[in-house]
Symmetry: C2
Subunit: 155 residues, 2 copies
């Protein structure tokens, strides 16, 4: 088996795993909280007080700004985030997680934690560390290749 074939198989495993965890997340999400919304909520819990704007989030998640507007609207309607105006720039709004938003996120994570813990128990510390390192390297190489592609396309 050559490297091309192995890389294809690695991508397949990654796709299946991502799909599987995605499916589990969907089962656990409460009524009215969609996947895209949870992803943003989750991101915000890691980056509080960084004054992120809707545009920043759109870039971060690789979606268009209207897509992010829609996601943020739903989160705001549910009271899970707030948009506060930026003092220096009248165009800009900062996205802020509310207490309710943080609570809702933590509920979901609480349910998922049991599953993730069950998986983590099957591996040694060293195995997890190795996999994490390799997976991260693989991801970085992928993104670098993707960048080259987009630059080619724009030329």
């Amino acid at each position: 088996m050559n490297r091309l074939e192995m890389t294809l198989l690695i991508l397949r495993e990654i796709a299946i795993t991502a799909d599987s965890s995605r499916r589990r997340l969907r089962e656990v999400l409460p009524e009215g909280l969609g996947e895209a919304q949870f992803d943003v909520l989750s991101h915000l819990t890691f980056t509080t007080n960084r004054n992120e704007t809707p545009s920043d989030l759109a870039r971060n998640f690789h979606v268009t700004r209207p897509a992010m507007t829609q996601t943020l609207n739903r989160l705001r309607a549910a009271g899970l985030i707030e948009l506060v105006p930026a003092p220096q720039d009248g165009r800009v709004r900062y996205v802020r997680l509310t207490a309710a938003g943080r609570a809702r996120h933590d509920e979901v994570v609480g349910v998922l934690e049991a599953d993730i813990r069950a998986v983590s128990r099957r591996f040694s510390n060293a195995d997890l560390e190795g996999l994490l390192q390799q997976a991260r390297r693989f991801r970085l190489e992928m993104e670098q290749t993707a960048e080259l592609d987009t630059k080619e396309h724009s030329s």
Copy 2:
């Protein structure tokens, strides 16, 4: 960093990588061929002459039968698959890849191959083999945990 945290980070890397490759696929897909359709096409190229039914495919992809009906309808409308009636069972139809379907699939794969090759070149044979093995093991443990969850739910 404990095992739970490492597992979370691994899942994050996997999610990002899957998303990235998905995005690249979307860029490459020709007008009128959606992701779900390509996935089915791709699956069929690996399993020709196995007499798979729409139900089989729905199970395989973890989607409902109406979802698969829709995907197959589009593929059939584009002439990329055929549904042939099963001789022994009047309810069943077998899904068959057409020559046009195989050709369309191969075109897309041809474009993607350059990218995958670029990534594969950055890794040693041993690294890829190690990552593949670990990624597969991780996937299997995930699926096993997911199975337990669904059984709990049905009891």
